[in-house]
Symmetry: C2
Subunit: 146 residues, 2 copies
Amino acid sequence: MPNNQFKKGELYSFITGKASTAIARRLQKKLNDAGLKLTIEQWSVLYHLWKEDGKSQQELCNATFRDKPSITRLVDNLEKLNLVKRVASENDRRINKIFLTKQAQKMQEQTMILAEETLNEALETVPLEKIEVCKEVLQIVYDNLK
Amino acid sequence: MPNNQFKKGELYSFITGKASTAIARRLQKKLNDAGLKLTIEQWSVLYHLWKEDGKSQQELCNATFRDKPSITRLVDNLEKLNLVKRVASENDRRINKIFLTKQAQKMQEQTMILAEETLNEALETVPLEKIEVCKEVLQIVYDNLK
DNA sequence: GGCATATAGTTGTTTATACAACTATTCAAA
DNA sequence: TTTGAATAGTTGTATAAACAACTATATGCC
């Protein structure tokens, strides 16, 4: 039993993602307070389009670790908010490419600042080298389970 | 900017809780495969009742980091599944104490084994001392934001 | 060319979350 | 003792996630 070092209470926090839930809630609050009508989940889709506009829905599935129906509905809602537009691909008509509107392009800087703020608040007082170890462990966990 | 060491891609993983999502999905799959009709969220409520039966809904809110409506509905569903029972408190009639049924009591051992299995799979190859650092960082993150 | 199969996306259903507004009960202070 | 505030829980509404079943288009093999 190589890694069975979890006392009961610690097991719970790992499974429920207490820390990342707290981070997401804090960022959501910052978005609300800034008057941005945007959920974290919508933000997470925009995030990948800011990196590269015109991704397909399938590419957004892979990038955000969501299934296809989830992305369909997030894109539905982002379209209603006038933040993205579906454009059928020329080459392959099964594919929708998703493009940011002007309005969404303008939101990038402000929301990224809020995201960085959130992480700085979350990691206040944590030494750099411990953050590095933590990032490394979380990546391994993800790789082990994917 | 003491802790602003996040490159863009890493920022994303921290906020979205990629690792804890993967852990929760893996445990959900194990519950399904074992034929247990139970969501992770329902499991997380039972978890605290297994530790101490008869907690109030408010105590379950605190223990699971959920708000009151979320607990109301989780308890609704657990009651429908015949896993818990609401019992009005004698002393204070505002309070519901939540008690496990026989059926739910019997599920503890099996699901705890699945949860530990999940974590062992998640943390395979991660050295103990790194797990300790990771737990510590996640706890500080939670404390910083709560 | 035609058919099986794979891929991209949508729809239906159930469960869960977050927030606001609400009811019921308790407590405390004038 | 009454009244106003605090506490416990519920209900309404919007958004999201997971899974299954579905449509439409593309691909590959005969």
